[in-house]
Structure formats: structure tokens, C-alpha cells
Symmetry: C2
Subunit: 219 residues, 2 copies
Amino acid sequence: MKPMKISEAVVRRLPVYLQVLNDLNARDVQTVSSQELGNRLDLNPAQIRKDLAYFGDFGRKGIGYDVTYLIEKIRQILKLDQPLNVALVGAGNLGRALCNYNTYLKDNMKITAVFDVHPSMIGSAINGLTVLPMDKLKETIVARNIRIGIITVPAVEAQHVADQFVDAGVDGILNFAPTILRVQDQVRIHYANFTTELMSLAYYLDEEGEEDHHEPDLD
Amino acid sequence: MKPMKISEAVVRRLPVYLQVLNDLNARDVQTVSSQELGNRLDLNPAQIRKDLAYFGDFGRKGIGYDVTYLIEKIRQILKLDQPLNVALVGAGNLGRALCNYNTYLKDNMKITAVFDVHPSMIGSAINGLTVLPMDKLKETIVARNIRIGIITVPAVEAQHVADQFVDAGVDGILNFAPTILRVQDQVRIHYANFTTELMSLAYYLDEEGEEDHHEPDLD
DNA sequence: TAGATTGTTAATCGATTAACAATC
DNA sequence: TAGATTGTTAATCGATTAACAATC
């Protein structure tokens, strides 16, 4: 257990490594080098080695990394080797889509409670879960040991939901609403906002065209 | 038109500035300082000023930034002042949720075509759009001047869909499938993967607890 | 004028990359 | 042994922040 501070950039790359490793594993690849991983991810091999070395000596000089072993190790680092209960507020289109994605069962992360403010929603079932009213939020989160809250309500309601999550004692929030949330420092917030993503993508349209995009006619 | 290279970090902050500015605008705030924006976003005011100064002199010394003017300018920078047509492949739960989010009409970005491989889906309507078969993809993208493709299919199909998007001539792809895509360099790919987001969030659980989280009993 | 706040330069900080001894 | 590849140190690169003259 090294007391070294790991940068957020490193932590964000770990799930991506895991993604590629799972893919290699599914194709029965036994061993992979940082070079090979770098190719697949458009990342510098030295960076990958350095990232992994923060957490231990997972590779073998002259050989590379054992795929299944590295998967196991990264899963441990990300705490995916133990169950993680998640609650979701907002049983609209997006919320329901996420609930149905409980494919990530294999990663031990599971949405175990769904809430909504709308009386018409309450009591309906989504992928085996009954939608609960907001006044059951705190007791459910405590009783089911829920650590993370997902917010899929409209932007105007998001802060209010966040406050209730924090009050109920969650440690992290994943916010899909297009708004900034203010919470106590010890609660971590990640944003998953596709509008933002789409906007930054829009910036780059034609951007490369300004350099040398004079397509030679190939007829 | 300065020939300066803008870093990706800067571009990714612009939509977030826009979010906050729209919020201020909705509450009839006329003017905002970098200090105030920094407070709301947990960002250094100097960074905000520097980010904006890459694109022009939008502020007034001693006063701050005019909210509506800055919104207009950022929208121009992100090319949100002109229509941007988007196509989506994968009319499952998530795909339908995104189509129904065409709230972002006000930003001129609009999903104008939806495709799916499953015959059972084809012909059905989602938020006014008819789901089309994949063999109509290229002609539709060309005909409707679609610049961006959204992928909401399972991971194993994602690369194939990406190839078709690239072949049809899109400039950017927003990929929701949990897999890395390989495309020609001039096509830009952004990833919107909540599993990844959830995993990196999981890493931080209890992390702050190791520092000094000895909650003083307050009874 | 005094106070506030920008745009920008210089200083600092941190992250990425190159290079290489260790070793499989 | 020769070739490959790690883990790690040092060098480089780039991004963030501090500081301040300009000016509203």
C-alpha cells in the first residue's frame, strides 16, 4: 500500500485498459506488451507502464503482462472485486435505459434501487426493480448499503436530488443532468453529459480541414 | 482568426462555461466575473480568463463578462450557431432515450436520422423519426448533410457501425459502446461510456476516508 | 479618484515521454 | 547468448496559476 498520490488522469485510464484487456481475454490472448496496448489505445507505452507501476509490478521483463492477471489486478484497484450498490433517481427514458444495462453485473456494480418523484411512475417495475417514492430514499440507501447515486432527472431538479443523496450518505454521484452540482467536498461527483460531449465534438468539425484537407481527386 | 493551437482541455471546458452562463442568463444575471465563474465551477479564475482570451477579448476590465454576449461568442466558437445534423445507430433503450432528448434543439444539434439492424425495429417511429435499415445509411447521411454519428449498439457491433459511418463521410463519432474504435485519423471520436465513469468513481470510494475521516460523534 | 477586473506574461506545477539498466 | 520488454529515472513538454499593468 504505497502512500503515493495517484493523479485523476491515471485513474481514468484504468477502466479503459480493462476494456481492452477484457477484449484480448475474450480472444484468448495470454500476454500483452505495453507496446501492443499503446497501439490499441493510441497511448505511449511508457505511460502505460508507468500507470500500472504505481500499483505494483504486474509485468515480466522481456515478456509483457499476463492478460488475466492484469485484469484481476486492475479490478482490485478499481474495487470491482467487491459488490457495489448503486441507486438511481429519475425513471425516465434515460434512467430506464441505464437500469436495463445491468449487464455490468459482472463488474459487481449494480443498480439496486430506483426512485422517481412522479406518482404515476411509482410502483411500476423496471428490469425487476420497483420504482420507489423519494421519501423512501434515505432509508433504502442506508438499508441496502448503497454507495453511489445516479441522477437522471431534469437539470432543475438535479441539485435537490444530489442534496438528498448526500444526506442519505452516498460517497459518490454520477450526474447525467446538464448542470453543475454543489456538494460537500468528501462526496465525489462525476459528470456524464452527452450534450457537453457532442458540443466539444462539434468544435472539431472541419478543424482538420484547415490544415491540408485538399482531397486529391482519386477518379 | 488566430492560428493558435487550442488544447483539448480548453475545448472541453467551453461547453461547461456555456452551461453555467445559460443558467445565469435564465436568472437574468447581466454580468459575471471570472472570479464568480471560478467559484461556481471550482476553477481558477485566471484559467477561465485565459481560456476565453484564446478566442477574443470578450470581457471588460473592471466590469467582467456580459452574460448574453459571452453565450453568443461561445456558441459561435463551438459552431452551435449553425445547424448540425446527427445520425444515430442502435434504436435500443439508450438510443431511444437520446432521440427523445432532442431538447438540445435550441443548440442547433439535432438527431435527424435513426438506424437499426433489427428488422423488427425498422419502420417504427421514435419521437417523430422512422427507424431506417442500415443499407440506407450512406445515402441518408449524404442527403441530409449529417456530420456526426452516434453509436448506441452493443460493443461487438460498434466497430462495424463506425466503419459505415466513416464510409458515409461523417466527421465525428460519439460512441456509447464500451469499446475502443479504430478509424482514420481525420475522423474524431469521443467516448461517452458511463461504465467507465462509474468505474473511476468506484476507485475513489473510501479514498478520502483514509485521510482523516474520523467523524467526530455529534450526538 | 478608488476599486474592480480583464488580458497577458512569467513562474510553477504536473504529466508525458525518452532512455536505459535490469532481467526474463 | 540475443532479443524483448519491464520498471524507473531524468528530460521534456504542456497546462495551470500567480502576478500585474492596463483600464473600465
